[in-house]
Symmetry: C2
Subunit: 242 residues, 2 copies
């Protein structure tokens, strides 16, 4: 209906604009992957310098999200995309919002490094936290690959793997309760560790949301709400009888 | 440059489109205000039916966010707005994303009602939680008023009030630590209550983000990063010597 739909030059420009935005998303994704791993490492090694770097790098992630939003809005305003292209641009904006949130959670996680330095260490907790963070980072990597390759199957796989992250969180929650009940000196440290574990579990939710956006993009439909949820701490009250 | 800038009929349509989206935002805001208060009430009165209603209503909030995004994208695609109008549309999308998150936090809060029924009650905690939720709900109401009236001063006031919410959170954090150290039977309940208090504190952050968007919209600048932050649990480790 509009001129742009019949002018190959303008259509090409739309694709170029979109590619430029996708490049920003990939850059953001790379920074967020690093943030997740570095936040976990800063906690494990009690490395305050590294924690500070995670916090500083989060500003770059935020700036990229701003840029994605601006570029996407400009693209929509200039190119008047069709329904399918409109969907792609909206997906890109949602993915960047999810990435920004994951970056924020990484920053909040890194922030606890200084506090944990003052606490009684909890046996095995940093290893468990690191494994959880690593699982989420791997999910994110695959979700971004699924996006670039428009691979709904891989996205579905990522979505299902969030269950494992939820299970890791539940196991940690129970462990922390046990430690706190055993010795009140563990309470403050465990409160902070629980906060961190919950942050990682939420990162997993945001990665899942990215995977769902990819599925929507490829199939035109959001997955049915049948994903097994395993943060059961709100339902089962684990540890009550621990 | 484009036809739309010189055709009063089309310009009027842009305003009408924008007003329609703003009406959706206000509807969303109303639902989220109710969700915050009802979630706190469901916890205080241990009312599982009300908690269930909060969870069900969250679907309506999510659907409204979808609609805001679609309408905003359609508006951008059709009307090719100028820089200022582009900023308004982006702001609207960000506000709706913030509202959706606050709705989610309310839902998560309400979800804990069932668990808390099984726990040893913690003296004074439901009142404190309710006051905190009430403060955030009032902030949200004012932030939305500031948006409609393009009132940067009111938005700035909202932004500053988040400090009080952070202080309420810090006080609760210390109270919970004390209760847990006094009696291990309080530990599980306090873990859930801490989770709830942290959720409300995060809602306050999202309301602050809405207020900042309003300031950006009116003044063209985001406020300087000088807001006093009072969630000091990541820095001070309160309760270490409690």
């Amino acid at each position: 209906m509009t001129e742009s739909m019949h002018d190959p030059h303008i259509v090409k420009s739309y694709d170029q604009d979109l590619e430029a935005i996708q490049a920003l998303i990939m850059k953001m994704g790379g920074l967020v992957e690093v943030a997740i791993l570095e936040a976990a490492t800063s906690l494990e090694n009690r490395d305050e310098e590294l924690a500070e770097r995670v916090r500083a790098n989060d500003k770059a992630i935020d700036a990229l999200e701003e840029k994605v939003n601006e570029e996407a809005a400009r693209l929509l305003a200039r190119r008047q995309p069709s329904a399918g292209d409109l969907r792609t641009v909206l997906t890109v904006m949602k993915i960047s919002a999810n990435l920004e949130r994951i970056g924020d959670y990484s920053k909040n996680m890194a922030k606890r490094t200084g506090v944990l330095l003052q606490m009684t260490p909890i046996d095995g907790s940093s290893g468990a936290i690191r494994r959880m963070a690593k699982a989420v980072e791997k999910m994110l990597k695959d979700a971004l690959d699924a996006y670039i390759q428009r691979d709904a199957e891989l996205a579905q796989d990522v979505r299902m793997r969030d269950l494992e992250v939820d299970q890791m969180y539940n196991a940690l929650f129970r462990t922390f309760l046990t430690y706190m009940m055993e010795d009140p000196r563990n309470i403050t440290g465990c409160m902070h560790l629980h906060f961190i574990a919950k942050n990682i579990e939420r990162m997993g939710d945001h990665v899942t949301s990215i995977a769902e956006q990819v599925i929507y993009l490829v199939t035109g439909q959001l997955p049915e709400d049948d994903r097994p949820k395993a943060d059961r701490t709100a339902i089962d009250a684990p540890g009550v009888d621990a």
